[in-house]
Amino acid sequence: MELEAAKMIGAGLATIALAGVGVGIGNIFGSYVSGSLRNPAAAPKVFGNVLLGFALTEAVALFALVIAFLILFG
């Protein structure tokens, strides 16, 4: 039973990674918005990079999810 509880706590702790990912995704889109307000003409060109950055950052969150799953079911 203690192992079970420890697993739950561990999986919960693994979601702390989301704090960093939240900062990261907010930073990406925040920078994109402020950049595209300064220079609207360049905005469409960098949108592909924004999406790439978003997907790469989101992946970090999902690595944490994989760790949580490994702890819970591994």
């Binding site: 790439l52 978003f54 997907a55 790469l56 992946a59 999902l62 690595f63 999810l65 994989v66 799953f69």
Partner: protein, 245 residues
């Protein structure tokens, strides 16, 4: 919660046609079935839509041309003219991953890309292929890829192992990224589906609205992850061809 209603039950592999060669299990599973369907769908889409070959493209033909140009431009921008040779490979990779992701969005289908072994096989092919291309093109000079230029010698002792590790982690991060995105998305939809049933007819509308939004997001993710997979393969290819230092 019984076993077949668990959010993870949708990723279970079932043997459709059991087969064995020696001790090796080579059964035709639901994963194999959906890979065959994905390949058939891509082939049908590209051949049927391009059959007219009209100067003014029909809707289907312009979709096929758009996907062709999309990848062609991606390779031109990220790899340069040397990358044109590798267009068929990147295009196949992109279309396969995209169609597997999109097929998985249809209810009651199986998402092939939510299996780590499938994405790892794809990523391993990219990794091994790209490394071989780099070695064949540059020979021993390829090893300079791991040595950052303009760095004091003392720092190199730390930096070279980091570069080597980050190089060999590539197939893992490439495969886990796609796999985890698909796994998380489909699990999330299933969990919210459970909320709808659990909350009943009065409160169940709220999670139902979330599911609609999430389904839209998942279609975006399905495309985005195929794009990311293709563009990262392009970037790795670029590293191998030009050694970027």
């Amino acid at each position: 919660m019984s076993a077949d209603h668990s959010p993870l039950a949708q990723f279970e592999i079932k043997r459709l046609v059991p087969m064995e060669i020696g001790n090796l299990d080579v059964s035709f599973t639901n994963a194999s079935l959906f890979m065959v369907i994905a390949i058939a769908a891509v082939t049908l889409f590209l051949t049927l839509s391009m059959r007219g070959r009209s100067m003014v493209p029909t809707r289907m033909q312009s979709m096929a041309e758009l996907s062709y140009e999309f990848i062609a431009n991606m390779i031109k921008d990220n790899v340069g003219s040397e990358g044109r040779k590798y267009f068929p490979f990147i295009f196949t990779l992109f279309m396969f991953v995209l169609f597997c992701n999109l097929l998985g969005m249809i209810p009651y289908t199986f998402t092939v890309t939510s299996q780590i072994i499938v994405t790892f096989a794809l990523a391993a092919v990219v990794f091994v292929g790209v490394t071989l291309i780099g070695i064949l093109k540059h020979g021993f000079k390829f090893l300079t890829f791991f040595v950052p230029s303009g760095v004091p010698f003392v720092l190199l002792i730390i930096l070279v192992p980091i570069e080597v590790i980050s190089y060999f982690v590539r197939p893992i991060s490439l495969s886990v990224r796609l796999f985890a995105n698909m796994l998380a998305g489909h699990t999330l939809l299933k969990v919210f589906g459970g909320f709808v049933v659990g909350l009943g007819i009065y409160l169940g509308w709220l999670p139902l609205g979330f599911i609609v939004v999430l389904t839209g997001l998942e279609f975006l993710v399905a495309f985005l992850q195929a794009y990311v997979f293709a563009i990262l393969s392009c970037l790795y290819l670029n590293d191998a061809l030009h050694l970027h230092h």
